[in-house]
């Protein structure tokens, strides 16, 4: 009985450790359609996704596209962009919406949906997994740092 409990405990610890390592280890690519630049820094990207900008330098409206909470990338993206969990990200955007400080992002389930949406909407910027092979070169934004 005791050994079974110990085994379960160890498996849980290992899975958790694996998961955290998995989040940390994931990298993201930024896609943007007609956002006035193709190369930027991580800090700028984080600022953009925190709703600090509503217009691009080319006067296009900023449309943020994020993976939905159902997406496997959601937690990683939340950690990467907002330094919080998915719930924290949702609280962030609840707060932003209620304060009217930014246009709320569009949440899509898959990276492809995100790429497709960005490709079709001028001014849209999204984040996808860097491993995705379908990212068109014309919308890919290079992170310089």
């Amino acid at each position: 009985m005791v050994s079974r409990f110990k085994i379960t405990f160890l498996i849980t610890i290992l899975l958790t450790f694996f998961k955290v390592n998995n989040i940390v280890a994931q990298s993201f690519a930024i896609v943007g359609n007609n956002i006035g630049f193709t190369k930027t820094s991580t800090q700028t990207i984080k600022s953009v996704f925190k709703g600090k900008y509503s217009l691009w330098s080319n006067k296009e409206s900023v449309t943020l596209v994020l993976p939905s909470t159902k997406s496997s990338n959601a937690a990683a993206v939340a950690k990467y962009l907002y330094g919080t969990t998915v719930n924290g990200m949702q609280k962030f955007w609840l707060s932003m919406v209620f304060q009217g400080r930014a246009n709320p992002p569009i949440f899509l389930e898959t990276d492809d949906e995100i790429i497709t949406y960005v490709s079709k909407n001028s001014g849209a910027i999204g984040i996808v997994s860097s491993t995705n092979k379908n990212i068109p070169a014309n919308i890919k934004i290079t992170i310089s740092d």
């Binding site: 909470t69 949702q90 609840l94 707060s95 992002p105 949440f107």
Partner: protein, 843 residues
């Protein structure tokens, strides 16, 4: 103020009042309801928004659809009443504010207690989130919204209110006009004016019907008026007549009560309340007593009578229920007892207790007095020595007294029933009987004398007084005769008649003698005065006569001297001497000092001249000065020096001057003596005019003063103050008597005074000429002042005073229409005589 009484005003105001109340209600109720409804609506809206937001939150959390949430938030914040929206999360059992927009203090979100906000919250739960959304609206903005919604409604309501007022005003006018007409007509009808017209109309409304009813009523009243007018007039006349009769009867009753001096009283035993007529209090002179009590009134009742009344009132046996007694009550003001006839009765209640007493009090003082007088008179009539007969109106004797029975010899029964003719006989004077008849027929009193005869043939004279007797209504009911037996008087009448005739002659004779005596006494008074002042007159005569004698002797000596000297000077020097004697008067009488001074100057002057021929220059100079010639008369001196013998010449001149002086002195002395005689003659009425004439007052008084001059000089200090030019109209001789008596009295009055002053003053007064003769003698006692002008009144009887002096003064004053007055004080006595002005004098 009349407007407030008009019908239109009443209607209009009532409408206005109702409208005002309605409007006040609406102005209050409508906004309140509006506000409540609106707030309720806003709360619903808020609820819906909160619900919508919570659903949107749940949707955004479940589906990651923040676009819808954004729309919902936008929809919420765009609401114009929006105040704030907040999201509160429940985490680990704690509520944490996620967001609030706009930013407000956190506690406001949690407490939600501000009155100016309405709050609504709605819970949400999704994907592990739970919490609530809170929305707040501003109540002020909601109210402002309500206000802005209500404003036009208020305006409309105000307009409606004004319109309704105007409408009601005109409606009131419209309604009140016929009502006013109806009121006017009704009032006219009420006041009996049936001529007021009213239009009959066919209106079917209430006013029209009322108008028609009044129209009908007016017609009916007019008809009734005609039928009732005569009846009313008759009734009114009857009422007026009865009222007047009643008033007259009441007044007569009151007058009768007052005239009969009857008063009512009542007294209640239980309350002790006593009431009595006012005239009773007036009779006693105690009408000022406000509430007379039985005790107060009893204080005025005579002690004996008071006992009777008290016993009557306090009788508990109920045996004495009536009183009829004469009681005496004191009229304190005059301290007299009035007699009242008191008639009273006690009324018992059903259980035989005394309830009240009432009755009358009649003042019978006069009646009592008359009764007493009658009783006394009856005694007098019975017992008097005079005869008394009383008859009826037909002169039949009803009563006689004992004296008549004694005088006539008839018995009482023989006389009663007969007429007084039974005493008359053939010697009774028919004229006297006719006179009596005539007087009695005229109901007049008769007083006469008549000769009657008794039963035994004895004749007797009666002095008869017959008085007709009248009832109160003036009807004659008999006669009363009082007869005095004057038989003895009549017998001695002739003797008295003769005595009277002799007496008249005697009286005339005595009167003549008295008049003569009086005249003689006046003369005697005058002569006595002359006698008293004769020594003075002799003195006054002796003085000038003595002077004349001495002057004559001196004159003889001077003439002898001249006889020697004149022949020794030349004729021309004689002429010069006469001339200078006329020119200068001798200065022998001048003072010695002045004379010596003048002599020295003249002597010094002469020394400057050639005067060697003059042996004694000093004597020469002195004689020259004595001749009245001094250094100022250089020309005369030179003339004298140029004479042959100046020393002889100056002696002649001096003697000539002395001669002249002596002659003048003798003449003056003679005149003085003559004047004394003249004044005395004037005083004793010799050569004085008996006619009334205008006299110089001062001269008139001066004559008397001259006569009395010796007395005055010897005894008193006389001071005179005559106003010049005063005249009076009168008899000078009588005025002499006036002044001499007043002056003589003044001198006599000063007999015992150490300082004797008499002042005579004449002056003009407003209405005449006044003469005051005052002396500082003792005061004349007041009781004597009133008598001093009476004949034979004298205070100097022991000094042979006749008592005629001031009586003569008064007569003279009266004869001259003058007035005399005496003012006597301790310091001075003044007799003042005021004559009428000459212009005003009338005889």
């Amino acid at each position: 103020m009349h407007i407030f009484k008009t019908v239109s005003f009443k209607i209009w105001v009532s409408f206005t009042l109702v409208m005002s109340l309605l409007m006040i209600f609406l102005f209050y109720y409508y906004p309140y309801q509006q506000q409540e409804t609106f707030i309720e609506f806003k709360k619903n809206e808020l609820h819906e928004l909160a619900n919508s937001l919570s659903q949107s939150i749940e949707g955004s959390l479940k589906n990651d659809d923040f676009q819808a949430l954004e729309e919902s938030v936008k929809h919420t914040t765009e609401n114009k009443d929006f105040e704030f929206v907040a999201v509160i999360l429940n985490e680990n059992g704690n509520q944490q504010l996620l967001v609030v927009s706009p930013n407000i203090p956190e506690e406001q979100v949690f407490k939600r207690d501000l009155e100016n906000k309405i709050y609504e919250s709605h819970e949400f739960a999704a994907r592990g989130f739970s919490g609530e959304v809170v929305i707040a609206f501003s109540k002020d903005r909601i109210l402002n919204s309500i206000q802005s919604i209500n404003q036009p409604i208020y305006l409309i309501m105000a307009g409606l209110f004004l319109a309704s007022l105007i409408m009601f005003y005109f409606l009131a006018r419209l309604i009140s006009k016929p009502i006013n007409n109806l009121i006017r007509v009704t009032n006219n009808l009420k006041e009996g004016n049936y001529s007021a017209t009213i239009k009959k109309n066919n209106a079917t409304d209430e006013i029209g019907q009322l108008s028609n009813s009044i129209f009908q009523l007016s017609d009916n009243l007019k008809a009734s008026l005609l039928t009732n007018k005569a009846l009313t007039e008759g009734l009114e006349n009857e009422i007026i007549k009865r009222t007047l009769e009643l008033q007259s009867s009441t007044e007569k009753l009151l007058d009768a009560q007052i005239n009969a001096r009857i008063s009512n009283f009542d007294y209640y035993f239980d309350t002790k309340k006593f009431t009595v007529s006012h005239n009773f209090l007036q009779l006693l002179g105690i009408e000022n007593i406000v509430s007379p009590t039985i005790e107060k009134i009893l204080d005025f009742v005579h002690e004996e009578d008071r006992k009777t009344i008290v016993e009557f009132l306090n009788d508990t046996s109920n045996e004495i229920l009536e009183i009829n007694a004469d009681i005496r009550i004191l009229q304190k003001a005059n301290d007299i007892w009035l007699t009242f006839s008191c008639i009273g009765r006690i009324i018992l209640d059903p259980i035989k207790n005394t309830k009240f007493c009432y009755g009358t009090l009649q003042d019978i003082t006069y009646r009592k007095k008359i009764e007493n007088e009658l009783r006394e008179l009856s005694l007098v009539a019975k017992n008097t020595s005079n005869c008394v007969i009383i008859t009826d109106q037909h002169k039949r004797i009803t009563w006689v007294n004992e004296s008549l029975l004694n005088l006539t010899g008839y018995s009482y029964n023989e006389i009663v029933g007969n007429t007084p003719k039974m005493f008359q006989f053939e010697k009774t004077d028919q004229n006297t009987l006719n006179f009596i008849k005539q007087k009695l027929d005229n109901n007049e009193n008769v007083t006469t004398e008549i000769l009657n005869r008794g039963k035994n043939g004895n004749e007797y004279w009666l002095e008869l007084n017959i008085v007709p007797l009248f009832k109160d209504n003036g009807d004659l009911y008999g006669y009363m005769a009082v007869e005095t037996d004057i038989t003895n008087l009549k017998n001695s009448e002739e003797h008295i008649k003769k005595m009277n005739e002799t007496l008249e002659i005697r009286v005339l004779e005595n009167t003549r003698k008295n008049l003569e005596l009086s005249r003689m006494m006046v003369e005697q008074e005058k002569l006595a005065t002359i006698g008293e002042i004769s020594a003075g007159i002799a003195h006054d005569l002796n003085t000038p006569l003595g002077a004349a004698k001495v002057g004559s002797e001196n004159l003889k000596f001077v003439i002898d001297e001249l006889k020697k000297l004149l022949p020794e000077i030349s004729h021309s020097d004689q002429m010069l001497a006469f001339e200078l004697s006329n020119q200068f008067k001798t200065s022998l009488a001048s003072s010695g000092l002045q004379k010596m001074k003048d002599k020295s100057i003249v002597e010094n002057y002469l020394k400057t001249k050639n005067t060697n021929s003059i042996k004694d220059l000093s004597q020469f100079s002195l004689t020259m000065v004595e001749c009245g010639i001094n250094s100022e008369n250089i020309e005369a001196i030179e003339q004298i020096l140029e004479t042959e013998n100046p020393e002889l010449f100056i002696k002649v001149l001096l003697n000539l001057q002395l001669t002249e002086n002596l002659i003048e002195g003798i003449v003056l002395s003679s005149e003085k003596a003559s004047n004394v005689v003249k004044d005395v003659r004037s005083f004793i009425n010799k050569g004085v005019s008996p006619e009334r004439q205008v006299l110089d007052l001062q001269k008139n008084i001066q004559v008397v003063l001259n006569v009395f001059s010796h007395e005055l000089r010897k005894k008193v200090q006389l001071s005179t103050h005559f106003q010049e030019g005063l005249t009076v109209v009168g008899f000078d001789i009588k005025l002499f008597q006036l002044w001499s008596n007043l002056i003589k009295n003044a001198i006599d009055a000063l007999e015992n005074q150490s300082e004797k002053l008499i002042t005579i003053k004449t002056y003009d007064e407003q209405h005449g000429v006044a003469v005051e003769i005052s002396n500082n003698g003792p005061k004349i006692p007041d009781e004597i002042v009133e008598k001093i002008f009476k004949k034979f009144f004298s205070t100097k009887r022991e000094k042979s005073g006749t008592g005629l002096g001031l009586s003569i003064v008064k007569n003279v004053v009266d004869e001259h229409n003058a007035e005399i007055s005496v003012v006597s004080t301790n310091d001075q006595t003044t007799f003042k005589v005021v004559f009428p002005n000459v212009a005003n004098f009338t005889v």
